[in-house]
Structures are given as structure tokens and as C-alpha cells.
């Protein structure tokens, strides 16, 4: 796949499924790749990569501020704001920062020019290198409610340094996940072999179908017995890209904050195969749906 720029998103219905394990190892094995951690509330990919030569910069959004001397209380702004981030109470305009979507509309519409915008820092972007992987993390400040502006910002790094970008999505299927997969070329769904795992898989499966993304499933924590997630994939005719067995060695590597492919030949092979499988799928997609 020389020269082709591809973005692979890794998602799961909930945290703890092994999404970060898959994303981190895939990025590490791809070599010359970019890893982007979109789980901005709890980014932990960088704990494995331990990136060096870190560069950080703040991310801010624009929030309206009112000049009370100019405001006449006409409420045009309150009526305009679709998000109800403004209220006019006791002859004063109240602005709810965390509800505001920074659309800028109220400032434009204020007939008195009483509204202006101030920058409010909501998090940081951290950019570093771990061997030949570019590691980008977005870290949202505690108390902020929407990670979407941070995700938008960090996704600008996709393919900026290298051809393959692995996007570690937030858990669940909320708007932050939609933002994370919007421009992905391929989605990997990570699933646990339990009934609850099937429920979570179903959730993200609906999401990728809705977004019309090519996808495949990685079955994690597989044991010998019955695997409801695998049954689900068979029933729905979903492509299983690979299986990761439940294994103490992997558990130990993981809990020590290390990257499996850099520690164990066995896992090097497992993720190497996975990468090839995904590359084939993506190539196939570009042939079928160019």
C-alpha cells in the first residue's frame, strides 16, 4: 500500500474491551504510522507508547461575553441560541459556557454589538514520537463536557506525518465517536466474548453501518468455550479479522504498560497478520468503491 493514505478507526461499545490494545499494537506494527488517541476523557495510549520529544499546545473554543453597559436586554441572542446556552435573568445575560457550541451566532446577531468572544481553554494536544510512531493525544480538561472540538483538532494530524493513521476512538457510540470515525477509511470493532460484549458490539455495528463504513471485527479475550460475539458475527455475516486469545502473557505485558508487539514474537505475528488483513480489506474497498 505504498503511497496510499489510510485511516483506520478502532472502536468498541464500552471501555476495557481491548480497543486501546488493538489500536496501539496496530500502530506500532505498521511502522511509520500515526496513532491518534481520541478518547479525550481518558486517553491512555500514550501510557504505552511513552512518546518522547513532546510538544504541547492548548485547545480553546470561543465563548461569548456580554458588555453589560451595551446590552439592552432585547433577548435576540437568547432567542437565537439553539442550544439554550443563554438566559436573560434579573436584567442580566447569563452565559452557560459548557452548553455553548461556539457557533458565534449570538455575537453576530446582537443589535447592540454587546457580545464579543473570548477564548476558553478546554484541553491540550500532546504530540510526540515513540520509536517510529507519531503519537498524538488530546486531553480534555476536567469539567468540560464536549470533547468534539479537541477531536476535530487532533484528527488534523491524520496522515500528516505518515501514510497509515490509527484512530483510537472513545468508548461507546456518542457524538465523540461519530466525530472520530467520520473520515476513517476502515473501522475495526473490538468485541468481548460475552453477551454484554454482543450488546456493545451491536451498538458500534449500528454506528458503522449508519456511516456506511467498511469494517471488520476483532474478537478479544477469546477462550475455548462458546463465544456469543463470534456467533453474532456469523449470524450477521460480519467479517472477523482476527481473534486474540485470553492469555496471561498478554495481560502481564499490558498491565506493565508495555506494547505487546515490542515484547513478544507471538504477538508480533498476531498483529502483523491483523495489519495485513486490514490492508487487504482497505485495498479491496478502494478497488470496489474507489
Amino acid at each position: 500500500m505504498e503511497g496510499t493514505k489510510i485511516k483506520i478507526a478502532v472502536l468498541s461499545g464500552k471501555g476495557g474491551t481491548g480497543k486501546t490494545l488493538v489500536a496501539v499494537n496496530l500502530a506500532a506494527i505498521a511502522k511509520n504510522s500515526v496513532y491518534i488517541d481520541c478518547d479525550v476523557e481518558e486517553p491512555n495510549g500514550h501510557l504505552f507508547f511513552k512518546p518522547e520529544q513532546l510538544k504541547r499546545h492548548d485547545i480553546s473554543v470561543k465563548i461569548p461575553v456580554v458588555d453589560e453597559k451595551l446590552c439592552t436586554g432585547c433577548r435576540s441572542c437568547v432567542a437565537f441560541c439553539k442550544f439554550n446556552a443563554l438566559a436573560y435573568i434579573n436584567h442580566k445575560l447569563m452565559v452557560f459556557d459548557e452548553i455553548c457550541h461556539s457557533c458565534g451566532g449570538c455575537s453576530l446577531f446582537c443589535p447592540e454589538k454587546a457580545l464579543s468572544e473570548r477564548e476558553k481553554v478546554i484541553g491540550v494536544v500532546q504530540n510526540g514520537k515513540s520509536e517510529d510512531v507519531r503519537v498524538i493525544s488530546g486531553i480534555m480538561n476536567v469539567g468540560e463536557t464536549s470533547g468534539v472540538p479537541i477531536i476535530k483538532e487532533i484528527l488534523k494530524y491524520a496522515n500528516e506525518y505518515q501514510d497509515i493513521t490509527v484512530i483510537d476512538c472513545p468508548p461507546g457510540s456518542a457524538c465523540t465517536v461519530m466525530e472520530s470515525i467520520k473520515d476513517a477509511d476502515y473501522c475495526i470493532l473490538v468485541a468481548e466474548p460475552t453477551l454484554f460484549g454482543v450488546h456493545n458490539l451491536n451498538m458500534v455495528h449500528d454506528l458503522v453501518t449508519l456511516f456506511n463504513k467498511p469494517y471488520g471485527v476483532v474478537l478479544n479475550k477469546c477462550v475455548q468455550s462458546e463465544n456469543p460475539a463470534e456467533t453474532y458475527c456469523t449470524e450477521k455475516n460480519i467479517n472477523v479479522l482476527g481473534k486474540i486469545l485470553f492469555d496471561n502473557e498478554l495481560g502481564t505485558i499490558n498491565s506493565n504498560g508495555l506494547i505487546a508487539i515490542r515484547q513478544s514474537d507471538k504477538y508480533f505475528d498476531v498483529f502483523n497478520q491483523l495489519l495485513h488483513k486490514v490492508s487487504e480489506e482497505v485495498q479491496h474497498e478502494t478497488v470496489v468503491n474507489p
Binding site: 442550544f83 439554550n84 443563554l86 438566559a87 435573568i89 452557560f96 459548557e98 452548553i99 463536557t145
Partner: protein, 122 residues
């Protein structure tokens, strides 16, 4: 004294609505004249910030007291800025709660919940 309460329907026999921001109607009750009216909660259908919108609605009605089973953080902030006191309803009956308020047996609402990350807005 004007009392406001989130209610499920436009009759005095209806029950107190369990949601403040998403309630379909508000009952406005005038303690002196014992007159009542109902108004629509225009915030009920909004995507986010329903609590803020609903609070704006009752502030505009010049309510002095709000009786509600629960209230979100943002709504409470608006209501407090307007100097409206918030009491906690004790059961579903509209009339019982008005009586309890009149006899001074309703407690002030103390637990304010933290909202739902932009998606709820109670």
C-alpha cells in the same frame, strides 16, 4: 405569591412531572386568589439546555416559588439568579404539594444533579 410546578397535563387532577426541564406543562398557582393557569414548556423539545430554557420560562412568569421533584445544575443556577426558591415535592399529587407548601411542610430542594453532558438538560 406565585407558585410554579412541572405537571404532566393541563388539569389540577394531573400529577407532578418527574422532570423539570422536559416537563410538557407548568402549573402557575396564585396563593392569594387560588387561581391557576397552565403554560407550555417551550424548552421541552430542545436538544440541549432544556433546563435553562424551562427556567427562563418560569422566570418570565415572575414566579416566586418552584415546587419540583428534581432540578439540574444549570436550571438551578438560572432560578437562583432570579431569587426563586426551590422546594422539593413530596408526592405526585398537585394539590397535596400546594397544601404542604402552604403549611410550610415542604423541604427546600438541596440536591441538584449535575446534568447529562449536553444530552439531557433536566
Amino acid at each position: 405569591m406565585k407558585i410554579v410546578m412541572p405537571v404532566d397535563d393541563k388539569t389540577m387532577e394531573t400529577s407532578v412531572c418527574q422532570s423539570f426541564g422536559r416537563t410538557p406543562y407548568f402549573l402557575i398557582y396564585e396563593t392569594e386568589t387560588k387561581e391557576h393557569t397552565f403554560i407550555d414548556n417551550s424548552g421541552a423539545a430542545s436538544q440541549g439546555g432544556a433546563g435553562i430554557k424551562a427556567a427562563q420560562v418560569i422566570v418570565d412568569q415572575k414566579a416566586e416559588v418552584l415546587l419540583t421533584p428534581r432540578c439540574g445544575e444549570n436550571a438551578a443556577e438560572v432560578i437562583k439568579a432570579a431569587n426563586i426558591s426551590i422546594y422539593k415535592t413530596m408526592n405526585q399529587s398537585v394539590q397535596n404539594n400546594i397544601n404542604a407548601y402552604n403549611t410550610g411542610t415542604l423541604p427546600l430542594l438541596t440536591e441538584i444533579h449535575a446534568g447529562f453532558h449536553n444530552h439531557g438538560g433536566n
